[in-house]
Amino acid sequence: MNTHATAAALPVASRRHRSGRALAPALFLAPAVALLGMFLVYPLLQSFRLSLLEWNGLGENSVFVGLANWAVLAKDALFWHALGNNLLLGLFSVLIQLPIAMALALLLDKAGRGSRTLKILYFLPLLFSSVALGVIFKNIYDPNFGPVNAALQALGLPALAQDWLGDRRYALAAVTAVICWQNVPFYMILFLAGLASFPSDLREAATLDGASDSTIFWRIRLPHLQGTVRTAAMLAVIGSLRYFDLIYVMTGGGPEGASELMATYMYRTVFSSFQLGYGSTVASVMFLVVSLIAALGMRLTRRFETEV
């Protein structure tokens, strides 16, 4: 009842002060709104507008074609293949990165202060530039000179020594492995921070009650980290849907489009094929897909929150 009363009283109070008080918030908000408008809303609307054109991106000779680009995209097997690859990348990012990151975080947390050097060491992959990393791993995967195949051969497993980046069947998996390797530290830090906020008296109480380590993890610590895990999963999925750099450097989306992602496909249509209109269609759909999945994800997590 109490809340209802304040809710009813509020509009009256604010109406009285509106004219004087509205200016200050508006002024404070203006820079943020202007920046968002200029660098987020405007480019978004602009890329949607461009998606309605057939245009090489040069001069004035653009042709308005309505939704023709969208119709072509709906039937573009290359694009759907790329979207499928993005979803696969998202799935495997979550399934591979998060458990490894969690395991590392738990071990580091357990080791406590003594693990500082390891923490820094594990964190290193995230600090590399993706381009440099891509070039290094291109050499590591090289079927003729790379250490991966050399090691497999030395171990007497020449059958496992594959053409990692040049074979349609393995290219995406090979790059995914590197992407995971690079991103695990990020989630590790996230989880580590979450674990640090775990109250130690809870653990003591549980231990006194005779709970084993695994029970403490599954029943107490993991539920405690639930929010962090969900955030991490969302970040991993959204990051995968927009992914570009290592794929671009290591395979360029190839061979034969086997590792093509939406972003690399968009880049190729705009900058190699000079199809700015169609490329913008790809970009717009990419934006819609990412927003849709992000919205779904947030909805799902909110439902979980209310249930728990």
């Binding site: 000779n61 090289d142 927009r242 061979p255 034969e256």
Partner: protein, 425 residues
């Protein structure tokens, strides 16, 4: 989206600073963009620009050197934003045609007509790549390159083999090296243009140079589904099935030297590549250069093309003037200075041959390249430079798929023809 817009935004910002720079000075500024980032070749352009400034008081050259791939993106965005540099490097062919279609490049025909002595210096084919519907849009600037088969003389001698001059001989050489556990050809086809060289040569040897010209210009009877394209695809797949290419070829990256490394390690015996490869080898592995030589692509018996035809580029890079330039006359003088006698000689000293008549080449390898090009009945420009960008991209995709044995030559040809019919009206 973000990637593209960010790049665009940063370019617009850098464009603004350019404009401010121009007005702040009292003199007129002529901007120039090129891709000569190596110290020696960069100096040649810098020297030419200095000469231009001395000969044309009141004008100042403002230069930007940009690495190759970044350049292509940056140039496109600059033109798209209508803020192009006055003078810009290009490759002629299809991508230049896009800028010309948009009315953004100065037609140099009238300038050259008043300047016949200067025009006559170049060999006749030098303007082919920049001639669009009878008008000339660029000057050939940097080099003359042909795709040839580099081979390891030691490996050939050791195995009692001679470099192939015909297709059947080539297949025998492939078989012989394969049996010895040596990859016959090094190929690094991630970027897809290196593999295209085999296809272009096969089309020429099988169907003659007219097949591509007719298909690309949509002349009567011209088609990318011509039997010559299909047969070329078949022969290419025949090579793949014979194990002609080193493992991983569709994923290896030419830009990090993956194919040359195979040659250097004696793991591959041959490589079909542009003659710029000679200078890369000299820089990377001088001792290897002693045991490498090159031969032209072999003849295909029964084919219509002549064995002397080459695939390559006369000019390699071209210099053009944008229509947005406020001083086109001065810009024309600038590009002339960039290919004047002093520049040509300096490039020659840097082992590059501007396509000038009677060029005095002393280096024996370079002399052979020059002779190859000068004697060639036709010089076929790279398909991926010659075709409109979208079709060029499909060409590279289909050839990579042919090499990956995932489509048939007929399917590849049909795909090309379908898009060509749609784009080239």
């Amino acid at each position: 989206v973000k990637f593209a817009t960010l790049t665009a935004a940063s370019l617009v910002i850098s464009g603004c600073t350019y404009a401010v720079g121009a007005s702040a000075q009292g003199t007129k500024t002529i901007s120039e963009w090129d891709i000569q980032t190596q110290p020696a070749s960069a100096k040649i352009i810098q020297d030419a620009l200095t000469r231009f400034e001395k000969a044309n008081p009141g004008y100042k050259a403002e230069r930007a050197q940009i690495p190759n791939d970044a350049y292509k993106t940056k140039l496109k965005i600059a033109f798209g934003a209508n803020e192009p540099p006055c003078v810009f490097t290009n490759w002629g062919g299809g991508s230049l045609r896009e800028y010309v279609k948009a009315g953004q490049v100065v037609d140099l025909t009238s300038y050259l007509a008043k300047d016949t002595a200067f025009k006559e210096r170049f060999i006749p084919t030098a303007f082919d790549a920049t001639t669009i519907q009878g008008k000339v849009y660029g000057l050939p600037g940097e080099n003359t390159a042909a795709a040839v088969i580099y081979y390891n003389t030691e490996l050939f001698a050791k195995n009692g083999l001679t470099p192939p001059t015909t297709w059947p001989e080539l297949l025998k050489v492939v078989e012989a090296f394969k049996a010895k556990g040596i990859a016959p050809f090094a190929l690094a086809n991630k970027a897809k243009w290196p593999g295209s060289m085999y296809f272009m040569y096969l089309v020429d040897r099988i169907g003659g140079p007219e097949v591509f010209r007719k298909a690309a210009t949509r002349a009567p009877g011209g088609s990318f589904a011509d039997p010559a394209f299909i047969e070329a695809g078949r022969k290419l797949q025949e090579l793949v099935k014979a194990g002609a290419f080193a493992q991983g070829f569709n994923g290896l990256d030419y830009d990090v030297g993956a194919s040359r490394r195979l040659m250097y390690a004696d793991k591959a015996a041959m490589q079909l590549m542009g003659t710029w490869e000679s200078s890369s080898m000299v820089n990377e592995n001088p001792s290897f250069v002693k045991k490498v030589d090159f031969v032209p692509f072999p003849a295909v018996p029964g084919g219509k093309g002549q064995a002397g035809d080459i695939v390559g580029s006369v000019g390699n890079n071209f210099y053009s003037v944008s229509s947005a330039c406020k001083a086109p006359e001065a810009a024309y003088k600038m590009i002339k200075t960039m290919v004047d006698d002093a520049s040509v000689q300096a490039r020659l000293d840097d082992k590059r041959m501007v396509p000038i008549k009677g060029l005095q080449v002393s280096d024996p390898t370079m002399r052979r390249v020059m002779k190859l090009v000068a004697d060639a009945p036709t010089v076929q420009n790279w398909y991926d430079q010659e075709l409109p960008p979208q079709l060029a991209e499909l060409h590279k995709d289909t050839v990579q798929s042919l090499l990956g044995l995932s489509i048939t030559p007929e399917e590849a040809a049909q795909k090309m023809e379908a898009l060509a019919a749609q784009l080239l009206r």
